[in-house]
Amino acid sequence: MAWNYSDKTKKLFLDAINNKENTHIGEIENPDGEGFHGSLVCGDAIKLTFSVKKDEKNPENDVITQVRYLTFGCTSAIAASEALCILLEDGHFTPIKALSLTKDDIVNFLEGLPTQKIHCSIMGVEALFASIHNWARKRGVDLKKFGVSNIECTKGEETKSTESKNDANIICRCMGMTRGYIIDQIKDLKLKTVDDIINTIKAGSVCGMCIDEPGGLNDLLNEVNGSKTETTEKAPQQKTPYQIAKEIETVLNEEIIPILKNDGGGIEIVDIRGYELYFRLKGTCKTCHSANNTIEYTIQKILRDRVGKDIKVIHVD
């Protein structure tokens, strides 16, 4: 166990696990709100239930009185669940007010969490939002009024979402994480790489399918942090003729000539003008008429891959 938990985290976990008084393990029967977040596959999940003191006139003034959780997960996941319940019960929150709770509130309450365990606190908040949506539906409260829309996930859970419609699309199918959610987290936690995402919110950590697919994690990172591909596309135009010539030469010497050499052939550079390469065939290649076109095509393909898509290869006798 490489994790350094705060004393608070350890205490909350041990109290919970040893069934001490005033802990919040369990499930409320006929709850006023219930929510679920996480999955068995990723290694942590929480089910949150709460009851409220109902306000006869206006359900918006309901006050959360009792919160219970069931959690599958590591030490910090269980401690974070406990922390969330304490925060909610002690704060006498209305469900609407509880929507303003963030992962930082949980992390602060726990006196800090190791970076790789931050997702435990996020999980708690997500389960809370899901349960508040559930409460809102039961009590007929329109959360849209408070700037939150009701968008259902595939698993029937509800998550907090932002304006755009396609933000509700599930990107990481294993973890059931939406586009909007992942983008929020990338911004919020200042994530820079796919590894950052995997290590904090665990999206992409199971099957890895969503990392490279269109609209996947890499694309989302580019979207938020600014695209890297743009810069590489622009770069070729800025190359000086000298750089281009140098690059073509390197690719020829390192990759193409060794291949031809195996067959006893070779090429000779006649001239390089901008993106145009003029070359002459040597050795067996020279006498092999049928090969000329193939070689020209292959060389051009390799150079376009390596140096730039504007490369043109011209065979001279």
């Binding site: 976990f13 590591c74 790789q116």
Partner: protein
Amino acid sequence: MSKVIYLDYNATTPIAPEVLEVMLPYFKDKYANPSSKYKTAMDIAAEVELARSSIAKFLGAKFSDELLFTGSATESINHAIRGCLKAFPKKRHIITTEVEHPAVLETCKDLERDGYRVSYLKVNQQGELLIEEFKQALSPDTGLVSIMYANNETGVVFPIDELSRITKEVDPDIFFHTDATQAIGKRPMDLNSQSYKNIDFLSMSGHKIYAPKGIGLLFTRKGARLRKFITGGHHEFNKRGGTLNVPFIIGMAKAFELLTDDFNKNLQKKLSELRDSFEKEISTNVPYIRINGLGAKRSANTTNISFDCIEGESILFQLDKMGFCISSGSACTSGSLEPSHVLRAMHVPLTSAHSSLRISLGRYTTKEDVDSLAKALPGVIQRLREISPFWDRKLNKPNEMAAQYSCSIK
């Protein structure tokens, strides 16, 4: 905290008191550098060579200079894999398995970045290799095969005698390396015997056999060439630079001597009885578990058990408070949040991989130690299951929510 019960011998072993005893003089009076040429130094050099030949005798190495002292098994492995490939630059292919220790896996991945091709052999659900698949992987381009002897997580033993024989039958120019770190002292090893004569390189470390951490061993059979890995002075027959770690070398030789006693006292048989009765007891008292590697040939001291619907790190944390030292394949105990690559290679469902415990016994394990764990564990598991949203507390079994995930996701 009350008494500590150490059940993590695959992670490291305590230093045997006898080993510590013989090392002490080399921290005090016998400090001379064995490479020096005055009498006290040359005496120490002679003692080092005596230690080397006694280890050679234990391992069945024909010549003592086939053994090299290194800093760790990881260094030995790097030396063997990289050194072998460097010595034969035309060979560009390596064969290994998916379940190797990171020392091998990461080295192979690094070589992939240098353009080497690596075949990672798969294992079946018991964790066993398929010999046929191994034969298919051998190619004219293959320079090295590196396969572990016993697995550190599950204890599953690979038939390296057969694998190395096949390698040499297919092509005597392919070299065979085995990471025997978890096997020495637990499995038979006689490098000069008919069974093991095809092994070219063998790596291991001292701290798994009751010697201190920070010393490893590399066996290189005469005739198998290796490029130097750590360049420097002419130490170790000019095969590895660096002043000899005399006290640890002396300690390691003593540790090998004690292994002979272990064999004479049938230690492994005793451990396997303890292990088997532990597994039996847990199987009876805790429902919904899986013993990983059961059915395969295993090291006598290791058991790897998964408990459905709970998470391994929270089990460990709880057991730690009760004084038990054990390991888990759970994602949360590793730095990476990935569950054990060994269990995933064995197609253990992720639902179980998150909650695996590795319990490994050793020389100083008593029946009381194992019994007290067997007594404590069911309660811990039960309590964690009670707070899991995937557990049906009334019927005491996984609920429908868990059933959704019961398939193995790769």
